[in-house]
């Protein structure tokens, strides 16, 4: 139940961000700093989410099959595979590595 509250709050705030853009005066667009921060934060958050999902297990760091998934996904992306294919490749690499005994 607790998770529902944060989830719905996240939904409200996401819509608020979107809506704010349509109601702020256009001259704010001329300040490039906000848009720059939105951009650097997008990169930083996605990089952080990538690495957390690769090496973190709760509060400990671990080197396991997920590292293989990261490498395989990078190769797929370098070959310009579409998003869904990259995800399947990542899953396949992790599953395969576990099958041959690397956790």
């Amino acid at each position: 139940m607790n998770l529902w509250i944060w989830l719905l709050l996240a939904c409200v705030l996401a819509y608020a961000w979107k809506l704010v853009g349509y109601f702020v005066p256009a001259k704010l667009l001329k300040d490039p700093r906000m848009s720059r921060i939105a951009g650097t934060m997008t990169i930083g958050l996605l990089a952080s989410l990538t690495i957390v999902n690769t090496v973190a297990s709760g509060q400990t760091l671990a080197a396991d099959a997920r590292l293989g998934a990261l490498a395989a996904a990078a190769v797929a992306l370098a070959f310009r595979a579409p998003f869904l294919m990259v995800v399947v490749v990542g899953a396949g690499a992790a599953a395969l590595l576990r099958l041959i005994g690397w956790n």
Partner: protein
Amino acid sequence: MKLLASPAVRVGISISIATGLYGISFGALSVTSGLDFWQTMALSLLLFSGGSQFAFIGVVAGGGSGIAAMSAATLLGMRNGIYGMQLNALLHPTGWRRYVAAQVTIDESTATSSGQTDPDEQRRGFWTAGIGIYILWNLFTAVGALAGSGLGDPKQWGLDGAAVAAFLALLWPRLKGREPAAIAVVCALATVLAVPFVPAGVPILIAAVVAALIGWFSHGRSDEGLEPDVDPYDTHHGHRHGDKNRDKPRDLHGDGNGQAGKAST
């Protein structure tokens, strides 16, 4: 059928299919992260922003608290506000349309619209991609959520690896050139260093603060990092990685030199 003659509508439809399809991976990962079917659907129906949705379930999957998940999703949603400003200047929606437009303001609809030069095409591109992705994304989220709940042990299927791949794929198109790559590396390092010392989920927020500070104090392109996960105009142009004069829909500030009008050729 006249609508199908519009290049923006055609691009909008193809981007809707490509983006909508990966809703399957969101749905499947969400239910294996511990959210139930309706929580998963609520994210796709109400939050509707791929990066933020993956962020929310990514934090939950890592054992993070609800408030950390909400914070990561919200910080990642800030760029949609920037898109909203750009689209408002481009399309001037009025009345109730403004409220609908806001909900479908995401990377892909913004890119489809701003990649066109003709105002009518910009409008058609935005609405086709926005509504199209909304419908298909939710449809395929449901498919993924139903399929995912029948999978049993998600690790056996490598679904944690799928999450890693999904985040890397979201990040990848934004890493063009040295600067964004450096930001990514610094934030990844900050995250790894923070993991042992703070509760799960918090390292991601620390990285967000680091990234915001970089954005505040450094001077670089003001649209760095604002790229769609799936690029509507990519297939029409071929080369994109490492190309300095990328003809991505960069012309958001209206100098009239966006090249995407060429997408129709």
